[in-house]
């Protein structure tokens, strides 16, 4: 049942969304082209982030520094069950959306997307957000300088997001 559902989820979307939009009198192909162009722009925009992050992480890993870091923070991460490889994602995630996507891309390439780390990185990426970026852009746009407790609450939500991602990953995939 679940297998059939996930097998048909994407084909169903591919047919039903355009059909529904057509009934609602949307020029489906024209709109698709507009969206596809936006998608390509996003892809092009993240290339520099991807190159910068993947190179830096590759150097860090190839030199043996990642192993040293993993060993150093092991007493901290082991009781919680976090693999040390995921640490760069946790650090970059609140700061830059494109940067975090680049770290996730690196983790998916290095370990397989269907490995434990690959799945965990995917879930984490989706269940947390770029708190500092949102804070800067949104408050900056209306000239608010004293942001009070907003950053603390946002980071708290990110932290809970990391933990729930970990438990959800263990629960669904182990």
């Amino acid at each position: 049942m679940v297998d059939t559902l996930s097998l048909w989820a994407i084909p169903a979307m591919l047919a039903l969304i355009p059909l529904w939009a057509f009934i609602r009198k949307v020029k489906v192909y024209d709109r698709f082209i507009v969206g596809a162009e936006e998608g390509l722009q996003v892809a092009v925009k993240i290339i520099p982030f991807l190159v910068g992050m993947m190179v830096a992480l590759a150097i860090f890993r190839a030199s043996g520094a990642m192993e040293l870091l993993a060993r150093a923070i092991d007493p901290l991460t082991r009781p919680l069950g976090f693999p040390a490889e995921i640490l760069p994602l946790m650090i970059v995630r609140p700061m830059s959306g494109a940067g975090a996507l680049a770290v996730t891309a690196d983790l998916l390439k290095t370990h397989h997307p269907d490995s434990y780390i690959g799945r965990l990185a995917s879930i984490m990426q989706g269940s947390t957000d770029t708190t500092f970026y949102v804070l800067t852009v949104y408050f900056g746009s209306v000239g608010v300088k004293k942001t009070r407790y907003a950053a603390a609450v946002g980071l708290f939500a990110d932290l809970i997001g990391f933990l729930t991602a970990l438990y959800a990953c263990n629960w669904f995939f182990r």
């Binding site: 936006e38 892809a43 190159v51 700061m95 690959g118 004293k146």
Partner: protein, 197 residues
């Protein structure tokens, strides 16, 4: 901040290589990674175009409005200081709906509009965030993800057998994080209210 992290990754990496004698491996890794980055994008670009194109069609057909209608009571409850017929409510609803559907490019303009509207309701100093603004930021930074489209595309581009298998886990994890975020915001507001009395 990100500048510092990037610098540390590079400098510590090369520094450790000096001790472990892996200078050659570092050079190889750096060159391979820059090639790999472009390969990743080539795999990803087409999927991103397909996904965003499909979502644009969905957006135009009123998907966001439908979701916004469902979420309206929740927003009234979360923003007691915003009058129910104020334009801020509409902007907040559209922003949250876009975020839930993973439509980042549609979410940001709506979010900025919502901030402007909330600023007109700001009771004190315009340079200090109002409670409603803080709640809105919390909703934004801990938004529930219904369909993580970009990640599914990235997983597919990286050779996953089941790119969409993480959808249920992501929905669960992001929902719990959002409940905690909103709960923390609510607690701070109650605390402030009591202190003011």
């Amino acid at each position: 901040m990100l500048n510092l992290i990037w610098l540390l990754l590079m400098v510590i990496g090369v520094g450790v290589a000096a001790f472990t004698g892996r200078a050659g491996a570092v050079t190889d890794a750096a060159f391979t990674a820059s090639k790999l980055a472009i390969e990743t994008i080539i795999g990803l670009a087409g999927l991103m175009a397909l996904w965003m194109g499909l979502m644009k069609v969905a957006e135009e057909s009123g998907l966001m409005e439908g979701l916004a209608w469902l979420l309206r009571p929740l927003v009234h409850w979360l923003f007691p200081s915003v009058p129910p017929d104020h334009p801020a409510v509409g902007a907040i609803l559209m922003n949250i709906s876009a975020n839930m559907l993973g439509l980042g490019s549609a979410a940001t303009p709506m979010g900025l509009k919502a901030m402007q509207e909330l600023q007109t309701l700001n009771p004190d100093d315009p340079e200090t965030a109002s409670e409603a603004m803080c709640t809105f930021l919390t909703l934004n930074t801990s938004s529930v993800t219904l369909i993580p489209g970009t990640i599914i595309a990235l997983r597919a581009a990286s050779g996953s057998k089941y790119p969409a298998e993480i959808v249920a886990a992501t929905l669960l994890a992001s929902s719990i994080a959002a409940v905690f975020g909103v709960g923390a915001d609510w607690t701070v507001r109650q605390f402030n209210r009591r202190r003011r009395r």
